[in-house]
C-alpha cells in the first residue's frame, strides 16, 4: 500500500467511469441549486443592511405582507428546480444502479468480497486465488463484485472508483466498477464495526494486463491454501491484518459463508 501514490481527494478525482458519473451528477446538482442559494445569500445580507433600523435607507412598509406574484415565484422556482433534479435523479439512479453490468469490451472479472473483523477477503473464483486486504484486477476490464459479510454490517467503498454498498451477513450485494487506467487506490469499510474499524482498509490495484498476470502468478505461488480451517483462522478478529495471498480456495467457500446464516429465504 505504501507504494501507492494516493489521490488526496479521490471523490473529486475519479479514476473510473462510475465514480466520474457520480461526481458529475454531484457537480451538476450543485450548479442547479445555486439558482436558489445565491439569491438567498444576497437577499439576506442586502435586506439586513438596507432595512436596518439604525439608519437603513430602505422603505418601511409594515402592512405589506402578501403578494400573489412573489408567492407564486417562491413556490414555482424551487418546484421547477426539483422537477429538473428529479428527472436527473431518476435517470442517473437507474444508470448507476450498482447491480448493473458495465459495458466494456471484455468479460468482467468476478470477485467475491467478504467483510471480516477487521479486514477484507477477496476471492477470485475464476482464478482460484484469494487475497486479504488487497484487491487487484486488470485496468480497463470491468470488475463484478459479490459482497457479503461474515460479521456485523460493513460498507464496501473504493472512493476513486465508485460508490459504496453495504455488506451484510447471510446476504449478497453487488457492485460493478471499472478503472480507466492502471492505478493504485484505497478502499475501506465505511460502516463503524468496532475496535479495529479505523484500520479496516485495503489496497486497490488496477494493473495493466502483463502486470496483472505477474501478480497472479505470484499469488499462485503462495504456500497457503484457503480451506475451511484456514478460513476460520483468518476470520478470527484481527486488526491491521497484513496483505496476504492464498493459492487455492475451497470450492463454494463464498456460498457456504452466506448459507451459514441460514433461515433467511425470499418469499
Amino acid at each position: 500500500m505504501d507504494a501507492c501514490n494516493l489521490i488526496r481527494a479521490p471523490i473529486l478525482h475519479p479514476a473510473g467511469p462510475v465514480a466520474l458519473a457520480e461526481r458529475d451528477l454531484l457537480f451538476t446538482a450543485v450548479f442547479v441549486m445555486l439558482v436558489v442559494v445565491v439569491p438567498v445569500f444576497v437577499m439576506t445580507f442586502l435586506f439586513a443592511w438596507r432595512y436596518r433600523a439604525s439608519g437603513g435607507r430602505g422603505r418601511y412598509t409594515p402592512n405589506w405582507y402578501y403578494s400573489g406574484k412573489v408567492d407564486a415565484i417562491i413556490w414555482l422556482v424551487p418546484a421547477l428546480i426539483v422537477v429538473v433534479l428529479g428527472y436527473l435523479l431518476w435517470t442517473e439512479t437507474h444508470k448507476l444502479d450498482p447491480y448493473r453490468q458495465l459495458v466494456s469490451g471484455t468479460e468482467p472479472l468476478e470477485v467475491e468480497a467478504i467483510a471480516q473483523d477487521w479486514k477484507w477477503l477477496f476471492i477470485y473464483p475464476e482464478l482460484g486465488v484469494a487475497s486479504v486486504n488487497e484487491l487487484v484486477f486488470p485496468s480497463n476490464r470491468s470488475l463484478s463484485l459479490k459482497i457479503t459479510s461474515d460479521t456485523v454490517m460493513n460498507s464496501f467503498f473504493i472512493p476513486a472508483l465508485g460508490g459504496q454498498i453495504y455488506a451484510m451477513a447471510g446476504m449478497q450485494t453487488r457492485l460493478h466498477l471499472l478503472a480507466d487506467k492502471p492505478g493504485c487506490f484505497r478502499g475501506r469499510n465505511m460502516q463503524y464495526s468496532g475496535h479495529g474499524f479505523p484500520e479496516q482498509r485495503f489496497a486497490v490495484r488496477a494493473l495493466a494486463k502483463e502486470e496483472f498476470d505477474a501478480w497472479l502468478s505470484r499469488a499462485r505461488k503462495s504456500p497457503e491454501k484457503l480451506d475451511m480451517a484456514a478460513y476460520r483462522a483468518l476470520a478470527a478478529p484481527s486488526v491491521d491484518h497484513p496483505v496476504s495471498y492464498y493459492s487455492g480456495v475451497a470450492p463454494r467457500l463464498y456460498d457456504s459463508i452466506i448459507e451459514k446464516y441460514a433461515g433467511k429465504h425470499p418469499e
Binding site: A262, G263, K264, H265, P266, E267
Partner: protein
C-alpha cells in the same frame, strides 16, 4: 404563588372530559402505529423460519376461533355495560363489566395455553425470526388485554366506591374505547397471522 390550601378543590369543567376523550383517542392512534409496525415486521419475517416450524405446524384453527369468539363477545358485553351506563344503572354496569372481565380472562388463558404449548414443543420466540415476530405481535396484544383487565378492575372498584359520577363515567368511556380498539387489533391478528399461516 403556590396553590393555597384553603381554596376548595373542584371537579373539572365540562370541556375537560371532551379533551380527555380526544387525548385518549390520540393515544390509541399512536398505539395503532405500534401495532401496524409489528404487523409489518411479522409480514416481513413470516418466511424467516430458520429451519424451524412454520405457522401451519403450530396454529390451530378451532383454538383461534375460540379466542376470537371470546374477545368479540366481550366487545358486545362491554357495549351492554355502556348502555347500562347510559341508563345510569350501576348494578347492571358492574354485572356487564364482570362478564367482560371473565371473557377477557378466558381469552388470555387460551393465549397463554397456546404459547405454553408452543414453547414446550421447542417453538419458542428464540427459535426463529418468524417465531420472534409471532410471539412479539401476539403477546403485545395480550399485554394490552391484560392492561385492559387491570383497567376493568380499577374501574369496577371506582364504580363501587364512587358510583357513576361524571369523572367515573368518563373513565368508563375511555376504557370502552380501549377495549373495542383491542378487538379491532385482534381482527388484524387472525387475518394476518393465523389464517394465512394455516393456509400456507
Amino acid at each position: 404563588m403556590s396553590p393555597v390550601g384553603d381554596d376548595t378543590a373542584l371537579l373539572p369543567h365540562d370541556e375537560a372530559y371532551d379533551e380527555r376523550a380526544f387525548g385518549f383517542w390520540l393515544y390509541l392512534m399512536s398505539d395503532a402505529i405500534i401495532f401496524a409496525l409489528l404487523f409489518a415486521t411479522y409480514q416481513i419475517m413470516a418466511g424467516d423460519i430458520a429451519g424451524g416450524p412454520q405457522g401451519s405446524d403450530l396454529f390451530s384453527l378451532p383454538h383461534t376461533f375460540g379466542e376470537t369468539l371470546l374477545l368479540l363477545t366481550s366487545s358486545l358485553t362491554f357495549g351492554l355495560a355502556s348502555l347500562a351506563l347510559d341508563a345510569g344503572n350501576r348494578r347492571r354496569v358492574l354485572a356487564w363489566l364482570g362478564v367482560t372481565f371473565v371473557l377477557g380472562l378466558g381469552f388470555l388463558a387460551m393465549e397463554i395455553h397456546e404459547f405454553h404449548g408452543m414453547i414446550t414443543r421447542g417453538a419458542g420466540p428464540d427459535r426463529s425470526g418468524f417465531l420472534s415476530a409471532f410471539f412479539t405481535l401476539v403477546s403485545t396484544h395480550g399485554l394490552h388485554v391484560s392492561a385492559g383487565l387491570v383497567f376493568i378492575l380499577v374501574m369496577t372498584v371506582q364504580v363501587v366506591v364512587k358510583g357513576l359520577s361524571r369523572p367515573v363515567s368518563s373513565r368508563l368511556e375511555r376504557l370502552g374505547l380501549f377495549w373495542h380498539f383491542l378487538d379491532i387489533v385482534w381482527i388484524g391478528i387472525f387475518s394476518v397471522v393465523y389464517l394465512p399461516g394455516i393456509l400456507r
